[in-house]
Amino acid sequence: MIKALLKQTKGYRLLSLLSPLLILVEVYMEVQIPFVMADMVNKGILGGEGINYIVTEGLKMVAMALVSLLSGAGAARFAAKAGMGFGANLRNSIFSKIQDFSFANIDKFSTPSLITRMTTDVNTIQMGYTMVIRIVVRSPLMFAMAFRYAYAINAELATVFTVAAPALLGLLGFIYIFAMPRFKRLMKKYDGLNASIQETLIGARVVKAFVRAKHEKEKFRISNDELRDASIAAEKLVILAGPFMQITVYGCTIAILWFGSNLVINGSMELASLTAFITYIHNILMSLMMISMIFVMATMARTSINRVLEVIKEVPDINDDGADPSLTVADGSIDMENVCFKYKKNGKKNVIDNINIHINSGETVGVIGGTGSAKTTLVQMIPRLYDVTEGVVRVGGRPVADYTLKNLRDSVAMVLQVNLLFSGTIEENLRWGNKDATTEEIENACKIAQAHDFIASFPDGYQTNLGQGGVNLSGGQKQRLCIARALLKSPKVLILDDSTSAVDTATDAKIREGFKANHGDITTIIVAQRISSVQHADKIIVLDDGKINAVGTHDELLGTNEIYTEVYKSQQEGVEE
């Protein structure tokens, strides 16, 4: 765990070391000051060394404090640099790693979880790291140094700490052990409350439509009260730490005043040293308190660290290993031979089961089947968004793994079911397909996708800005933009995965006509629910439960294939009445 994290400190290692070094200087200087003071008073006033001695020692102390100040400030600066640099490295590594994820990798972690890992978790770790290089070094150093000087002043008196320090640590440990499970419970309640609020926000329409505000309020009241009680239960242990600390400090003070006074009176310790000693009580016990806090922080950060490392250590399961970079896709022919697929290696049932199909270059192929029949899964194996579990998928006569992902996916364009546009202008989004496209090419693609007209109707036309996720467009408009974006790639194979579901049938028909007229040479695969979207295809594949149920043209299937006919009937009921 630590090794993997240390890797991320690259470029900031010197700074990460410099900061503790400066803290060492800071602490060394700081701790000596009370010691020098005691010496100054003991010798200067009580011992009669006189004014010169006092002035020299005084200047020495001020100089020490100044050195300490500069070192401390330097340490803070370097720690900030190193900590923030480390955080930036971490974010970059995760982001790059996620970008290399295959679809299977993405499915494994869910999108919201990836986002939390990159934001909240990285922040926690970053703050932790900055703390580590400052406090983790500082507190034990302070403890050791202060103890050393206390011991130098009077070894016998320093034994007070050998009783007090373990006692305090024990008490803090006791709090920690008992509070931790309560905090875990608290976090659960907290997450539960938030999840339930979110659910209510998302379902606001349902809540209103059924007039259930009162019911939701009552549900919330219960969770809210539970959260309050869990918070109090957990924190009422933690608040003991303050008074425990005070009792220890106070106890030490009284003990040292008592034993110290005896030592001073019988002459085995000098008077001013007693004052210095009292100053060290605070230094020693305070650093113990900090050490225990680090422990708590580390426990909290550990979850974050694990969650982040899980991402960093994930191996993208689809890569260019074994690909020939010079190989490009020759034509749009597709072959699937004995293709089987399951999402999880140890899954029981094949999602795709022994599929064999040949598609000629330039053909239009429809894929139809009910929800859960694995239509999407099947086509996603063509641009290698998933790798087959068994069998082989060939594009242009070569197995897909022979091409680099870039070469393969540049030739095999796919419009996904969930259409996402990115913030920026419409044109910028379209240029994802081809960053060097001319205005003419862009407009042409949009005309074929039936997007040009509505784009032109916007005041800013192609320069219209889209919010995150393209929120100001309707579903059908987004789908059409996504089709245009894919067309701009001038692919050899175009896969439309239910990409016109929100487009009305007339426009859908126009888009298909446009394809035929302008891109007759592109192999087009249309996954659809509507028979009308696929009935003109050269070939229609009927999928059922991951298996090919039938392949044929509309005319061949209608009347002979049970599923196809049933779907057709359900959609055309009434027409012939």
Partner: protein, 644 residues
């Protein structure tokens, strides 16, 4: 009424946090009013904090007595019990003071814990309860993330502030004032010197605070950019992969990430440099005071006002160490408070949003016919309902509840600019099925939004059983109709709970009956725990079709005379849809139904079909009428089966 908020003047320790509230004073007063509900307890906290701080300060002062009165005279003498008796006495009273201090610490922590969580609990409840009463337009115009952060981020900073800042501030102020008073008492001369150092520290804090605020603002902007980019590119990851956009995404990210690193480094430098600087200023003061004090002991005659004893010097030095830390604390607490106020302001902003107004006065009551055939109100459930309509002259009329809905020249716009519905008139008689067809954005969903008054019409009127819907109490209106939406929105809970959402007091028999009606009973009984199967994450463990069946059962159990189906089957394949339709058909029997659908097959058997285009009804009639009209509907309908 709030004056255009002047940028809050930096507090003495103005370590400006990233986001500042726009009206500090008002928000602060409001937050105090929440705390004020526990004002007696807070007063107690105040007293105990003061006790705790003072115990420490007074305890320290005993060092002088011990040094000057016991140790100095006794040094070099034989230690005897007699000689030490005064020391024992001092230490015992010191012990009492310290014990009192520690107990006070525990007391205020414990009380404050109660106060803080009670206050947070109240604020959260106010926020949620208010949110539940807000109109749907509020939810349509705010993202879930935006609203959630009120419950997470904003409440978190508020918790930090309430549970810590109050105590810390009081304790710091008491410590600073008390310590300073003690310093003056023990040595006015050295105290004067400390004041000079204090002024120096003050300027340093101010200068650093200014820089820090500047960089924190810059950092906040960068954080916003980075988080936005992360969200967008992780959500769109599959698209990135399909377009081989990984490298360009990585390089853009690395750039904005580096900007963040830069800003964050500066912000954190200025924030964390304060501690070592203040800590060491206190050491410089300590060193200088020790030197000056020593010189004073030697040089200033004992009878002078400025004279100093050895014990006083020691005590003073311990005070010096205690003096600066609370000053740093105060400046940091101001930061926390500013940040918390910004959060509180965002919370209050929602609490201040006007709730969904309801000036309706017509309600729905159980009714029966008396022997004269008149409708009268009654207590028990009769299965018959009536609109209870009070009039201005104090009379009451009852109208039987049937489910007759009419639109009369309705015009509507969401934003007052773009008209979504233009002069729409239509009627639905009890038991009729009315369908709306049209492309996205034609105004279909808007019609349903108006029927149940999620939004109110701008012009024209909608009547329900002859009563203007504006006169009907919203709760009564909405209870009288059920909605089945494309997004099912199931809630975490059992299958039974989810069906009962339509009618909270539904009996088990009613629930099963509703499930049977919706064709959901058979799959529910096959679930591992049947009706007690837990549904999580918006029904993720059910298929889309099953979820939709549950939402139909939920509408069925409500058993309303009016039903609104808004794209209820759009995301389901046609074969599954067929099954659902069987359930739906039974549900629709005898009810007034409004159907919105993409698929024309679902609307075919409606009594009337309205074809909407850009907010206007361009065609209306039943399926056969429209087909024979050969208009838009005909085109759409035949378009689906266009054989080329």
């Amino acid at each position: 009424m709030a004056p255009k908020a002047a940028p809050p003047k930096g507090s003495p320790g103005g370590f400006g946090g990233p986001v500042r509230p726009s009206d500090t004073k008002r928000t602060f007063a409001r937050l105090l009013s929440y705390l004020g509900r526990s004002k007696h307890l807070l007063l107690l906290v105040f007293v105990f904090v003061a006790f705790s701080s003072l115990a420490g300060i007074i305890g320290t002062s005993f060092v002088e007595q011990i040094t000057d009165e016991i140790l100095l005279p006794l040094i070099g003498t034989q230690v005897t019990a007699d000689a030490l008796a005064p020391l024992v006495k001092i230490l015992v009273s010191l012990g009492f003071i310290y014990a009192f201090g520690a107990i006070s610490s525990y007391a205020y922590s414990r009380i404050m814990l109660q106060v803080a969580h009670k206050t947070l609990n109240t604020i959260r409840a106010d926020l949620f309860n208010h949110m539940m009463d807000l109109p749907i337009s509020f939810f349509d115009t705010h993202t879930h993330g935006e609203l959630m952060s009120r419950y997470t981020n904003d409440t978190d900073v508020l918790r930090e502030c309430i549970s810590q800042s109050f105590v810390q501030l009081v304790s710091s102020v008491v410590t600073v004032v008390g310590t300073f008073a003690m310093m003056i008492y023990f040595s006015p001369l050295l105290a004067l010197f400390v004041v000079i150092m204090l002024i120096l520290a003050f300027f340093i804090i101010k200068a650093l605070g200014k820089q820090s605020a500047k960089y924190f603002r810059a950092q906040q902007q960068c954080v916003g950019k980075v988080n936005g980019y992360i969200e967008e590119y992780i959500e769109g990851l599959k698209v990135v992969k399909v377009f081989c956009h990984e490298d360009s995404a990585k390089s853009s990210f690395s750039q904005i990430n580096d900007n963040l690193r830069h800003a964050a480094t500066n912000a954190h430098t200025y924030a964390s440099i304060l501690m070592p600087i203040m800590g060491n200023i206190s050491y410089i003061t300590y060193a200088a005071a020790a030197t000056l004090g020593s010189l004073a002991i030697l040089k200033i005659p004992e009878d002078s006002f400025f004279s100093l004893s050895v014990g006083a010097l020691f005590t003073f030095l311990i005070y010096t160490r205690q003096f600066f830390q609370p000053i740093t604390q105060i400046s940091q607490q101001f930061n926390n408070i500013i940040a918390a106020l910004a959060g509180a302001e965002r919370i209050f902003e929602i609490i201040d949003t006007p709730i969904e107004a309801d000036d309706g006065y017509v309600t729905l009551v159980n009714a029966k016919k008396n022997e004269k055939g008149e409708i009268v109100e009654c207590e028990e459930r009769t299965g018959m309902w009536a609109w209870k309509h009070p009039h201005g002259d104090g009379t009451l009329t009852y109208t039987e509840w049937k489910g007759d809905v009419r639109f009369e020249n309705v015009t509507f716009s969401y934003d007052g600019k773009k008209t979504v519905l233009k002069n729409v008139s239509l009627y639905a008689r009890p038991g009729e099925k009315i369908a709306f067809v049209g492309s996205t954005g034609a105004g279909k969903t808007t019609i349903t939004n108006l029927i149940n008054r999620f939004y109110d019409v701008d012009e024209g009127k909608i009547t329900y059983d002859g009563i203007n819907v504006k006169k009907i109490k919203k709760a009564a209106l909405r209870r009288s109709m059920a909605m089945v939406l494309q997004d099912t929105h199931l809630f975490t809970g059992t299958v039974r709970d989810n069906i009962a959402y339509g009618k909270l007091d539904a009996t088990d028999e009613e629930i099963v009956a509703a499930a049977k009606l919706a064709n959901a009973h058979s799959f529910i009984t096959r679930l591992p725990d049947g009706y007690d199967t837990m549904i999580t994450g918006d029904g993720a463990n059910l298929s889309q079709g099953q979820r939709q069946l549950l939402s139909i059962a939920r509408a069925a159990v409500a058993d309303p005379p009016v039903l609104i189906l808004d794209e209820a089957t759009s995301s389901i394949d046609t074969r599954t849809e067929h099954l659902i339709e069987l359930g739906m058909d039974k549900l629709m029997e005898g009810r007034t139904v409004f159907v919105i659908a993409h698929r024309l097959s679902t609307v075919r058997n409606s009594n009337a079909i309205m074809v909407l285009e850009q907010g206007e009804i361009i065609e209306r009639g039943d399926h056969d009428d429209l087909i024979s009209q050969k208009g838009k509907y005909y085109q759409l309908y035949t378009g689906q089966f266009e054989l080329d």
